[in-house]
């Protein structure tokens, strides 16, 4: 990097989130303003990948000061250049405001959202230009593969990864080094490595961020795996819903080839490696490793029975190593800095960091990479800034459709693969969806079952029929038609589906129901026995609305808002809602200027 000649660098986030909020226009405007003032040779503008704080986008960081601007607009650029770049004065109104203290925070390291983060997999995301291989190399990129190829045997690479304690970030948490050992030990003239970038878990987007923000770290991790297991061909299976990720990865692959990092006889050794992209075609079950391989082979993405495991018989029947994006992204650091250093972070059983996608009813949504062993409370309150709109916390859903919902009293649990399993949840891909008092837990369970039910590939009966039965029961409960015995029936079905389904989709599909039954059983009971929804979310169970006669000013606004003409009253006089006609849609509530309408 020709850093030295520039007096300042301006990083503009160019991830999917910020593109959607208009960063391209901001960049053009900034470049125009710089050109007008002849600053193009002094100030370098770099478009980076995601900073993880997409909600506040478009984001911009000005170096060397490290000033963090959020929600920047094209029209702000004149002021940024005039005031900040020319006069050295920070533009206060574009700074991040702490939601709890109301203070403006100039430097991004001081923002709560970033303070507790510790980055390994995302280390370059948001700091380098992902379409410029030189920038990756300048941060020490491709040093690990150089070291492995010239100083280490494949077995030494495997041993280092084993020693690091790295476990798969794609959900199951299987020890990565051990998986590589299986693939290495397997007999075969041809072997493959695959990266699972299908990221189907709703609410998770860390893999997309890595692909968009630092594609080379994934490529390097895959080359290391290929060398370790003895593969000469690889695939990255990316979901088609990620067009920008695919584009950046394509550029990165080309640059890696041009620089002799992919292809024949790497680093003058006899190790060769070819890497290709495969676009998914939209099926959640294809995230399952054997279904994914069936999909690469051009078939319907249906899971196959295991064993044989992919390490013995994978793609086209050949030994194959498959890992998740984030897993591979951890490997270069392990090889470069050593397993010992890597293990210093995290817990004994779960080393290193994990990227969580924080979403839902929380102040700061985004991606946070934190050491394993952190508590849920730290993530939600310290990093996430707590629940938004001043509401009460109710539950956090972790692990997507295979995971579970944890209540308030589990907030101090330290998070790692094993502790989560113990409380009936799982790490999954690391999606954390925070729910507040207005969220109905029966509805959440119904939502996930609806998802898994429609994504079931239909190959085996318990998953295909069983999830449908569970869904029907849950639907009945949410409309007030639950019956005595439904809870027990749900539990029986759940156990059955778990133990008899072929793949992880079916085996974990009942988890959201089981965990909500475990921690929020009273909500189920309220729906079934009292026909009420304590959270006030299930519309069919809500009573009619009423107008507080004292408060009503007779403005007539609500009569117009009501779709079924259930509200009557003369102007300037008290209005009345006909209870029988009211469909409890709530349309009037939002319109009333004096908040006179309640349920």
């Amino acid at each position: 990097m020709d850093q030295s000649i520039y007096r300042s660098h301006i990083l503009i986030c160019g991830g999917t989130g910020c593109v959607s909020s208009g960063c391209k226009e901001v960049r053009s405007s900034l470049e125009e303003e710089l050109a007008e003032r002849d600053l193009v040779n002094e100030i370098k503008v770099i478009e980076t990948g995601c900073h993880g704080f997409c909600e506040k986008g478009p984001l911009m960081i000005v170096y060397p000061e490290g000033v963090f601007y959020c929600k920047v607009q094209p029209e702000d650029m004149e002021e940024v250049v005039e005031e900040h770049i020319l006069k050295g004065k920070v533009v206060e109104r574009l700074l991040y405001t702490d939601p709890t203290t109301g203070e403006n925070i100039p430097s991004y390291q001081e923002i709560d959202f970033y303070k507790k983060q510790q980055r390994t997999a995302l280390i370059n995301c948001g700091y380098i230009d992902p379409e410029e291989i030189k920038e990756y190399i300048a941060t020490g990129g491709y040093e690990a593969i150089g070291k492995a190829l010239t100083e280490m045997t494949p077995q030494e690479v495997i041993d280092e990864v084993k020693e690091s304690g790295l476990r798969g970030r794609g959900g199951g948490g299987f020890p990565t080094g051990l998986k590589w050992q299986f693939a290495s030990d397997a007999e075969g003239d041809k072997k493959y490595v695959i990266c699972n970038a299908d990221e189907g878990d709703p609410g998770a987007f860390m893999d997309r961020s890595i692909l968009e923000g630092d594609p080379h770290v994934l490529i390097e991790g895959m080359i290391l795996a290929a060398y370790a297991v003895g593969a000469d061909e690889g695939y990255v299976y990316v979901r088609a819903e990620y067009p920008l990720a695919i584009k950046r990865l394509r550029v990165a692959l080309e640059q890696a080839e041009e620089n002799g990092l992919l292809g024949e006889n790497l680093f003058g050794t006899d190790f060769s490696f070819k890497l290709r992209i495969k676009e998914g075609a939209g099926a959640f079950v294809c995230g399952e490793e054997t279904a994914l391989m069936a999909s690469i082979e051009g078939e319907r993405g249906m899971p196959r029975p295991r064993p044989p495991f992919p390490a013995e018989k994978g793609l086209w029947g050949k030994p194959t190593n498959i890992n998740n994006v984030e897993t591979y992204a951890n490997v270069p650091a392990i090889i470069k800095e050593g397993a010992e250093a890597y293990k210093q972070v995290g817990t004994e059983g779960s080393t290193g960091t994990k990227v969580f996608a924080l979403t839902g009813k929380i102040n700061n949504t985004g991606l946070a990479e934190v050491p394993m062993g952190i508590t849920m409370r730290e993530i939600i309150y310290d990093i996430g800034g707590g629940i938004n709109e001043g509401k009460e916390f109710k539950a956090v859903q972790i692990g997507g459709p295979s995971g579970g919902c944890l209540p308030e009293d589990k907030l101090d649990l330290t998070i790692d693969y094993d502790s989560l399993l113990e409380v009936g949840a799982m790490m999954g891909s690391g999606g954390l969806v925070v729910m507040d008092e207005d969220t109905c837990m029966v509805d959440v369970a119904r939502f996930f079952l609806d998802f898994t039910q429609s994504e079931s590939c239909g190959k085996c009966t318990p998953c295909r029929i069983g999830t449908k039965q569970m869904l029907d029961i849950l639907e009945r409960i949410t409309v007030g038609e639950g019956q005595e015995g439904d809870i027990e029936l749900l539990e029986r079905l759940a156990e059955n589906i778990k133990s008899t389904s072929l793949c992880g989709l079916g085996q974990t599909a009942p988890n959201p129901v089981l965990s909500t039954l475990r921690y929020f059983r009273d909500e189920y009971e309220a729906h079934i026995y009292e026909q009420t929804c304590p959270a006030g979310a299930c519309e069919e169970l809500l009573g009619a609305y009423v107008i507080d006669g004292e408060a009503c000013v007779g403005c007539t606004v609500c009569t117009e808002a009501c779709p079924v003409d259930a509200i009557a009253g003369e102007a300037k006089e008290e209005h009345l809602i006909d209870e029988d006609a009211c469909i409890a849609c709530g349309a009037c509530v939002d319109k009333c200027p004096v908040d006179a309408i309640t349920q």
């Binding site: 959607s20 878990d201 709703p202 609410g203 676009e279 319907r300 839902g360 949504t365 985004g366």
Partner: protein, 164 residues
């Protein structure tokens, strides 16, 4: 694609020309089925029956397998689709932040249901599970563009951009 204008053969050739071009880039093996279908759909906007039959022949796979693959993946479509594809995220993060209101607004504005295409073939509406922009929930994607932090009002504004 029978027609009565007298130059059926020539028409036929024209109709299959884009497919022929797609096939040129592949070594015509079963493993290429999915990428061939993806590229072909890019060309035709959907996958007409005649085209699928041609693909089955060229790749030497049974038609039933082609059909099985096409119906398995949600990306493939057997019916013509709108000029603009609107994908509404119904994933968890979007669900808890009001995705159903966005979907309802779209349905009302376009006068179609989830999975349908407007009569003028301008818009197709689809609900999807997650588009990986969960930090901006609720999110929709129109063609390749992502739009986030939507309310019913801004949903209409976004739609207007594409109504042209």
């Amino acid at each position: 694609m029978a027609c009565s204008c007298g130059n059926a053969e020539e028409n036929q050739e024209k109709y299959f020309a884009p497919l022929k071009k797609v096939l040129e880039n592949y070594d015509k093996k079963a493993k290429d089925l999915i990428p061939v279908l993806q590229e072909t759909q890019e060309e035709y906007g959907y996958l007409p029956q005649e085209v699928l039959e041609e693909i089955a022949k060229s790749l030497r796979v049974p038609f039933s397998q082609v059909y099985g693959v096409v119906t398995f993946y949600s990306q493939f479509h057997l019916e013509p689709r709108g000029e603009n594809i609107i994908r509404i995220c119904m994933g968890t993060a979007c669900h808890v932040r009001g995705a159903d209101k966005v979907l309802d607004t779209m349905k009302e504005e376009l006068g179609i249901d989830d999975g349908e295409t407007t009569e003028d073939l301008k818009f197709t509406l689809e609900s999807v599970a997650c588009i990986g922009a969960c930090g901006l929930a609720p999110v929709i994607m129109v063609n390749d563009n992502t739009h986030g932090l939507l309310t019913p009002e801004t949903t209409v504004e976004v739609l207007d951009q594409y109504r042209g």
